[in-house]
Amino acid sequence: MVSQSFIGLGKAQQKALGSPDLPIAVIPHPFGTRSREELREIAAKAAGDIARLLCEAAPASAKVAAAAPTVPRAKLVEAPSDLAELNKFYMQRRWGDGLIIAPPTREAVERMLRHTNRKPDDVVATIAPGMGAATVEYIAIQGVMAGCYPEYLPVLIAAAEAVGTQRFHLQAIQSTTNPSAVWLLVNGPIAKWLEVNSGAGCLGPGTWANATLGRALRLILLNIGGALPGDIDKATQGQPSKYTFCCAENEEANPWEPLHVERGFARDANTVTAIGALGTWSMNMTAKGPEEVLAMIADTMQYPASSDYMYGGAPFIILSPQHAQLFHRAGWSKAEVKRRLWEQSKIRAGRSKGSEFERMATGRRAELGDITPDSMVPISVQPDDISIIVAGGAGSHSVFVPVSAHTRSVTKEVVLTESGVRE
């Protein structure tokens, strides 16, 4: 049963789940705001549709395969040589993100494939919700289209692995009405080799690696995951970070261990972390006291329409080097900062109203028991579910990054060829 606006997603799920004969009953959209009387009318109509669908034979068009499909190689097509016409050709087929693409020619893709020892038809991951096969070759095609340098391919392979894990729960990110973007964070020496910006303006424009790596991941989500905006990607507005969202951690300015070391990787390992981010909230804090700055971050984390509080989340804090140093000089470890933030950011449940309060009460019941409007609800199940990194340049700005419901960030190692990064 789907509401009218979600028919495209429902049909895509039939295919992705391998159930082309699954019947779909359609109800009016939206139903979440309907009155009790309207719901009764919708139910009366839908019950008849359901009864009919459950008793009728599957349509002849629902094909059932006799054998598992083989992993295909990507197909070459004839397209206009003129760049502007080529871009029209791609956009007419919804093969892009709306920005100009570089032509994924055989030569360009082969040049990129030289930067991995994996075979072109190796399936790195299946990408929800369309469950497209992210082969090495298809990943390289997206990289070329996004303008990536060939040596970026291992980063993209690791990124596809990360978003394809069950823990990351890409299904929820790709088809939600939330503005969920995927933020790619690079750690380790490769950030310097590839010149991924971790300093001033690292989440803004002006750096080739940040711009094209984040964009290539978006093209993976679109062209391999099938998250066509409006049809499958149901984001009500979306956000600009869905074009590109990538930076490195500023490890040199980090007084603590960087994220990948905290997660069990060697300091000289190269990793990417995929994070299902709902946005970036700047926190301008010129206060000199660590307690004052921490209290302001904790206050910013609290907002009643937050899915972090609704279900117990895994938010990120990007500390500026200035604020990280402030906390470090106070003798606080990263774990201590997390613990203080977790304690001080508890929100009064009653700030969520109506059905949102009910959702919070349902979402946190298993963990917190019965919730009343006066219950104090933490942003995450435990302090360590809050991740802290250091990034950016000079300035008194840190960033709060709320995350999409039920997604957990995933870190994967970047595997390089023996010849290294450069061509």
Binding site: D82, P104, A133
Partner: protein
């Protein structure tokens, strides 16, 4: 802008889905005497819609009983154990997507 009719070969970037299509639908002869399962996706009003649908299916279509399972949230699947329990108790299962 001048038009250029020459062409070149480039890749189609859309990757195929390799999920094996299978027959998952089992048609019922009628709903009379059957037990229907609902997975309540926990979206606002869905529990009320399920309540109304249950009554309609029982009163007008001969359904014997309805079994409901409510998900913790819309974006999480029902646990495998609860799904198996629901399947073992019912003749057909209905869930919802949307707002």
């Amino acid at each position: 802008m001048s038009s250029n009719s020459s062409t070149s070969q480039v890749y189609d970037p859309v990757a195929p889905c390799l999920t094996l299509p299978r027959q998952s639908r089992q048609t019922l002869n009628s709903l009379a005497g059957k037990t229907i399962g609902f997975i309540d996706n926990s979206k606002p009003n869905f529990n009320l819609l399920v309540e109304d649908l249950s009554r309609e299916l029982i009163e007008k279509h001969g359904v014997k009983a309805v079994v409901k399972q409510r998900k913790r949230s819309a974006s999480q699947g029902l646990s495998e154990s609860l799904m198996n329990e629901l399947v073992s108790q019912t003749d057909a299962v209905i869930t919802g997507s949307g707002d």
